[in-house]
Amino acid sequence: MSEDAVVTLAYSVTYGVVLWYAVRLHFRHRRLTRRS
């Protein structure tokens, strides 16, 4: 793996996980507000 690929992997994992958590929160919020 090249140096740039390793760095890209680290950034993709970090921002990917943060985005996944934010999207998950968004959908949980939408589901809960629809129910009420």
């Binding site: 140096e3 680290a10 950034y11 994992v13 996980v17 943060v18 949980r28 919020h29 809960l32």
Partner: protein, 237 residues
């Protein structure tokens, strides 16, 4: 959720600027491009420390005031703290393999103490799922939330206490030994991650409140009111 979206948008702008600074910063003399990973690794770890301090604060406040909002703050912050501790461990591993030659080393004080802290806070989240009673859950979790925070200074100062593989803090009193461009990128990323934390915390607290309301609406209300028939003819009032 409008405020959450506004903070998240601001965080995205600062993060994008941070990313630009990371790319524009010169490669490190020894670690070359790999040093760029530290611009997200260190903020992730900082966020984890901040999140666990907020958990302890929320736990203390719940024990004093007994209001659900403090328990929600503690729980929300712990969840995000676990997320960022996990990220600090993973980015550290991705960086560690090419630079140190190992993904992880239990003999290193910083790595081992961070992994233990990660497991303890996973335990905190598991403890919260052990009971449905919000009062009991908050009472149990608040004790662990207060006790577990002692790990944060231990993890932070572990590199000073035991000199192993991990370096000592880069940003310290009396000047930082890194290039100004690198320092600027690191500080901007630190600000971006703090904003991300604030946005996620606000969003998680809103979701937590809605979940609590939904759970209390589902509680059996008829169970306490319906009484078994009295066979002696007496009437319950």
């Amino acid at each position: 959720m409008t405020k959450v979206r506004a903070v998240m948008a601001l965080a995205a702008i600062v993060a994008a600027y941070g990313l630009y600074l990371v790319i524009a910063a010169p490669p490190e003399a020894v670690q070359r491009t790999y040093a760029r990973i530290l611009h997200i690794h260190a903020p992730s770890a900082w966020l984890a420390f901040l999140a666990f301090f907020v958990t302890a604060f929320g736990s203390i406040m719940w024990r004093i005031r007994r209001k659900p909002v403090w328990d929600r703050l503690a729980a929300s912050s712990a969840e995000i703290g676990v997320l960022f501790t996990g990220l600090a461990l993973v980015t550290g591993m991705i960086w560690g393999k090419p630079v140190w030659g190992v993904y992880f080393d239990w003999a290193d004080a910083r790595m081992a103490s961070t992994a233990i802290m990660f497991l303890v806070y996973l335990g905190y989240l598991a403890l919260r799922r052990a009971t449905r009673d919000p009062e009991l859950r908050a009472a149990r979790a608040s004790i662990l939330g207060i006790v577990a925070v002692v790990q944060v200074p231990l993890v932070y100062f572990s590199v000073n206490l035991v000199r192993t593989l991990h370096q000592t803090p880069t940003i310290r009193p009396g000047g930082s030994p890194i290039h100004p461009a690198m320092l600027q990128a690191l500080l901007v990323n630190l600000a971006a991650f703090t904003l991300i934390y604030i946005a996620l915390l606000m969003g998680r607290m809103v979701v937590g409140r809605l979940e609590q309301e939904a759970a209390s609406a589902l509680e059996p209300v008829a169970g306490a009111a319906v009484l078994p028939p009295r066979l002696d003819g007496a009437v319950d009032v």
